[in-house]
């Protein structure tokens, strides 16, 4: 026994004396910590998956798998061939990963499964997005690592080899801070309200050298894009407007947009609650030309088991305000419910993006069964959005915000007959009312076929008024509207005023607006015209100090500019 002790002691002594620098390094080796790499490359093991090439042809899964394998073998070769310089090897490996990543990225386009249905593509997370990575050693409930990372950031995480770990990664797909978990692994419902919440998890036994997570985030909510178009109500959506999606009625509304507590250990939501409504400020303009008059916003719901039977989906305009051409704000009735038409049951499957488009169109006033526009047609050349009119891409033809004015703009509101602009000479070519967005919704009063102007002329259920307005006096005939009153609009009756006409010299005639006692003419165009003498049929009435004569249908020249009041061609709802 004594003879054996000495050599052991001697070995220890010689180590101390012989290799001081190595001793220091060895103390770092001892835990056998391993690096964790969040690698972009994703294994695709699904035999059913084919890759779609840009030319539309598909490849078998073999090719994708083969290219992945090739990438790995390249890495391995690098390690083997340059074993003498390990730090350089790492650089070599890094380069290979980069190349491999790019190759895989171009190959991992949208793919289809065997049944032919589209399968979502897996794409790289944007580099400006953040996510949270949580690491736990199996059997422990306290994370050994919990940190926010930018996409592409090295976690600089080392773990002990041969131990089993569970990891959890989640993101709200933004560049701001990522919510955290509490001690039970729960993320608060409020932190996930209307957020693009993504989650991934996995477990592995740490191996020596690198370990790869291959994080693939899966959406945990169903998304619904709402596009709200207010071009047909002639104003832009204000930032403080709010919207919801659900079922039911204005007073008994079931919000389908939910948030909930998400537990990372069982990867599911619980305690669902209504998410906040979508604000106008959270929506983005679809087209810069009309800006806030068409905005799109995305709802996210954790209520992914919900279904909606046919025609029961509702968009609720909790608060809709629009900014009119005169910069005033029009506020519509709170919680107006828009019923959406859909022939089949809708589901809100996790990871799906659905779309609802709503176009709001200004309602009219009903007189004698015909729906009339509330205000006169004007031409706003600044909203033509181009050098010439293009269907769907113009807001130049529109209705005035209200009837409270004495003097129309001579160049915007007095229309030659059938011309593309008020002063245009391309006569009998264009029904200007049909160009009001959305095109085809409105039209000129049809005197030719339906005698609509004659019917109005003969409708004596009307009153007259002389009203003091900001720029003078408005002399009007008023037909009672029989439709439901909409308090958002200043008038719910058909108000036609004596604005005279524009003669061929470009000056307005017969306008009584300077005083309450002036004389003038009430003239409105119809669609009827006579080519033989280039005249059209108009509604005509004399006004003497607010005392109106009998209305009649008369003829006026194409080249005379007259006010136009459109009627509905299509009634929705």
């Amino acid at each position: 026994m004594k003879g054996l002790k000495w050599p052991v002691l001697l070995v220890a002594a010689s180590l101390t004396a012989f290799s001081c620098s190595s001793e220091k390094e060895k103390s770092e080796i001892a835990p056998e910590e391993q690096n964790i790499i969040i690698r972009a490359v994703k294994y695709v093991n699904d035999d059913q998956v084919s890759t779609i090439n840009s030319d539309g042809s598909s490849e078998s899964s073999d090719k994708l798998t083969a290219s992945t394998r090739n990438a790995y073998s390249t890495v391995n070769t690098s390690f083997g061939s340059t074993e003498g310089n390990k730090l350089d090897i790492r650089n070599g490996a890094e380069f290979d990963y980069t190349v491999d990543f790019e190759a895989s990225r171009s190959g991992l386009k949208a793919s289809i499964n065997a049944s032919g249905s589209l399968k979502a593509a897996d794409v790289a997370m944007d580099s400006n997005k953040k996510f949270r990575l949580v690491f736990m050693q199996e059997g422990n409930s306290t994370p050994i690592y919990n940190a926010e990372l930018n996409s592409g950031q090295n976690p600089n995480l080392k773990v002990a080899a041969n131990k089993k770990y569970n990891w959890y990664a989640f993101s709200i797909n933004g560049s701001g801070s990522v919510p955290n978990i509490d001690g039970s692994g729960n993320i608060a419902a409020s932190a996930l309200s209307n957020k693009d919440f993504m989650f991934a998890s996995g477990s592995f036994t740490a191996q020596k050298n690198e370990n790869y997570l291959d994080i693939l985030f899966i959406r945990q909510m169903a998304a619904i894009d709402l596009t709200l178009n207010t071009r047909g109500i002639f104003g832009g959506i204000t930032d403080n407007s709010t919207f919801s999606i659900g079922t039911g009625t204005s007073s008994s509304f079931n919000n389908l947009i939910k948030t909930g507590i998400f537990n990372i250990f069982n990867a599911s939501f619980s305690n669902l609650e209504d998410a906040a409504a979508l604000k106008g400020s959270e929506m983005t303009p679809v087209d810069s030309r009309w800006g806030n008059a068409e905005k799109k916003g995305r709802f996210y719901t954790a209520n992914t088991s919900a279904t909606v039977s046919a025609n029961n989906l509702r968009v609720r305009l909790n608060s809709l305000n629009i900014t009119l051409d005169d910069n005033n704000t029009r506020t519509f009735a709170a919680n107006t419910v828009v019923p959406i038409s859909h022939s089949s049951t809708l589901s809100f499957t996790k990871g799906t993006l659905s779309k609802t488009n709503v176009r709001l169109i200004e309602s009219g006033v009903t007189v004698g069964g015909l729906v009339w526009a509330r205000t006169n047609l004007i031409y706003e050349s600044s909203k033509l959005y181009g050098s010439s009119y293009n269907q769907g891409s113009s807001d130049a033809y529109r209705f005035r915000p209200n009837n409270n004015y004495a003097y129309p703009n001579v160049n915007k509101e007095y229309w030659n007959f059938g011309a593309s602009t008020p002063t245009g000479t391309d006569y009998q070519k264009v029904d200007e009312c049909r160009r009001v967005y959305p095109e085809g919704t409105w039209r000129l009063p049809n005197e030719q076929d339906n005698g609509e102007m004659t019917a109005l002329s003969q409708n004596t259920n009307r009153s007259t008024s002389v009203t003091s307005v900001a720029d003078g006096y408005r002399h009007s005939m008023i037909w009672k509207g029989t439709q439901a009153v909409n308090s958002a609009y200043p008038d719910n009756d058909l108000i036609l005023s004596a604005y005279g006409f524009r003669n061929s010299n470009g000056s307005v005639q017969s306008i009584p607006s300077a005083s309450s006692t002036g004389n003038g003419l009430l003239i409105y165009r119809s669609n009827q015209y006579f080519q033989s003498n280039s005249t059209t049929s108009i509604l005509y009435c004399t006004d003497s100090s607010g005392s109106f004569g009998s209305t009649s249908i008369q003829r006026r020249a194409y080249s005379e500019g007259d006010p136009i009041r459109c009627v509905r061609n299509v009634v929705n709802n």
Binding site: F18, I29, K86, V123, N154, S171, L353, S354, K355
Partner: protein
Amino acid sequence: MMELKMKTKLVYIAPRVTAQEVELEQGIAAGSANINTGSDGQTPKEREYETGWSNGKDFDI
């Protein structure tokens, strides 16, 4: 006794130990150097949305 001790120190067992150290040095290089895998190598992926339903409505208001 002191002389004996000095003699045993001169018995060269140390070279064997050094050979073991080469093995360990390999471990150092693989496990403790910083990993600079670059941004792409550390980039997670996300699965894009699948297309759901789509509908629309013109609504008079």
